[in-house]
């Protein structure tokens, strides 16, 4: 009998430690499936961040290293200098990339570093227990904004894809979401494109992935998907912010 579905070799045969309904697992699998389909698992070098996905190397079946909080783009820049012929990527959350690591991501993008960054935006600090992130929406509750984020107190959420798209360095920037099967399929396409851009030597590629955190949002997984669709996509529009043509 011909199998209609097989588990990707890109994921190690273990259960992830992520909360039920968390979309980290989906994002991991999309990236690893893509590398597998492109025949790149043996050549891929990944950088895990600090945050929930600090343990990504326990699940992603490629060579990986950890980075200090926010420093993954600097680490990947160093890796890239040693291995110009490999595929390098960072996987970073919103606290890691958009708060403490803003300097590193902006400069790596501006340099047009030839690696790909997958930016998981779920609008909250997950690992530390649900504090306000730089991407937490106005009105969104967190343990450091219990009545909801206000502009007066905490300023406005950061739109990272738009911000990076103002730079001349990046080759490809797209924002996707993991709230529905259609969006997940689109996300996988974007991930593939990011690697293709890297392989073609066109420069820095960046995919922002709108994700859920049911635990810290205090919602059931289906409700979290709905909340993402209704609130996050409204503030963080999906789409291509910088395009490159891969020949």
């Amino acid at each position: 009998m011909k199998p209609v579905f097989t588990v990707t070799k890109g994921m190690l045969p273990v259960s992830t430690s992520y909360c039920p309904g968390c979309t980290h697992g989906v994002a991991h699998r999309l990236i690893m499936e893509t590398l597998d389909e492109m025949g790149l698992l043996g050549k891929a070098l990944g950088v895990a961040p600090i945050g929930c996905s600090v343990v990504a190397h326990q699940f992603m079946n490629v060579d990986m290293c950890e980075a200090a909080h926010g420093r993954a783009p600097a680490v990947a820049s160093g890796i890239r200098r040693v291995h110009p012929d490999k595929v390098v990527f960072t996987y970073q959350g919103d606290g890691d990339l958009a708060s403490i690591g803003m300097g590193e991501i902006v400069h790596a993008a501006a340099r047009g570093e030839k690696f790909s960054t997958f930016f998981i935006n779920n609008g909250i600090y997950g690992m530390t227990g649900g504090q306000m992130a730089p991407t937490t929406l106005i009105g969104q509750r967190s343990t450091t904004s219990v009545d909801g984020r206000t502009r007066e107190q905490a300023g406005m959420p950061l739109k990272i894809s738009e911000l990076l798209a103002t730079l001349d360095g990046p080759a490809y920037i797209e924002r996707v979401a993991l709230d529905s099967p259609a969006h997940i399929r689109a996300a996988k396409k974007a991930i593939r494109k990011a690697f293709e851009v890297q392989l073609a030597g066109l420069g820095f590629s960046f995919v922002e992935i709108l994700s859920t955190c049911p635990t810290n949002w205090g919602l059931t997984p289906p409700k979290a998907m709905e909340w993402l669709r209704e609130n996050m996509i409204a503030y963080y529009p999906l789409g291509v912010y910088k395009d490159a043509e891969v020949k």
Binding site: H57, N61, A74
Partner: protein, 358 residues
Amino acid sequence: MGEKVLMKGNEAFAEAVIRGGCRFYFGYPITPQSEIPEFMSRELPKRGGKFLQAESELGAVNMAYGCGAAGGRGFISSSSPGIALMQEGMSFLCGAEVPVTILNVSRGGPGIGSIQPGQADYNQVTRGGGNGDYKIPVFAPASIQEAVDILYEAPEIADKFRNPVMVLADGLMGQMMEPVLLPEPKPEITSADIPKVKPWAISGSEKGERSVVKSLRLQPEVLEAHVSHLFEKYAVMEKELERVECEGLEDAEVVFVAFGTMARLAREAMELLEADGIKAGLIRPISLWPYPYSAFEKLSGKTKVVVSVELSMGQMMQDIKLGVLGRCPVKLICRTGGMLPTSLEVVEKTKKILEEVR
């Protein structure tokens, strides 16, 4: 053996590291070591290497971490406040066992302090600075030749122990010129060699085993075992890397302890004291960690006082006292803030100290 050349300290240091096999440099400008990134930006591309100016010292140390994790021989340099920023990365380098060569051309502090030479980073570099149980070997050469020889060897020490290695030079050495014999260049490790030479490094799982370079160990028993492993390694390093030079200890009435440029000043003070009929000796720690405590066992009964000569408010005194173990008093002659004593000043202060202890 090559010809002797006259080089500015900072440029000689950079050349030595390239000859020692480093091909990757990451740095951020800071006085008094900016000649190093300048030199590397000119030289590395010509010699098959890569230069990258980082956005900050945080960027630089983490680029070096990525480079080292990927099996490359990385080099970073900075000066005191920049080293402070890099120390987060140094803790990660030690935890994840990633080799990197580090040069600290130190200046005055605290804070932004001054750009003049200083040794007030003694505690910073020998006592950690980053979080957690870790150790970094620190070598403090006293001449440009010695600095060149140590920096030439440093990438190999770093690789052998899978640990960062630091060389501490004061700003004065960075600016000074002195004839130096440059060692023969060592062959580089190419990216194709890495899977064989450093199978633990991340170079792609196609090499066979999957590699993970990390410092995270969430289970306490696993982390404890890892730290114990690190400390077994540090114990070997303590045996193998301790370096010290002793002079005139057998009949010295006063023994100076000094490192770097201050050791040269103390040496001249010894000569001046000898002309005045006072026998002085010198213990010159070349490795600040591991500290050469055993050298103090050679102190003779004739020694009435041990004097630390340093450009800090006595940061090395603690280690000296651990070496002296109460055999005699330990005193301090110091200047700080970028001020430098003269050998004559050291002689005068030493005579006063001797009057007190005689």
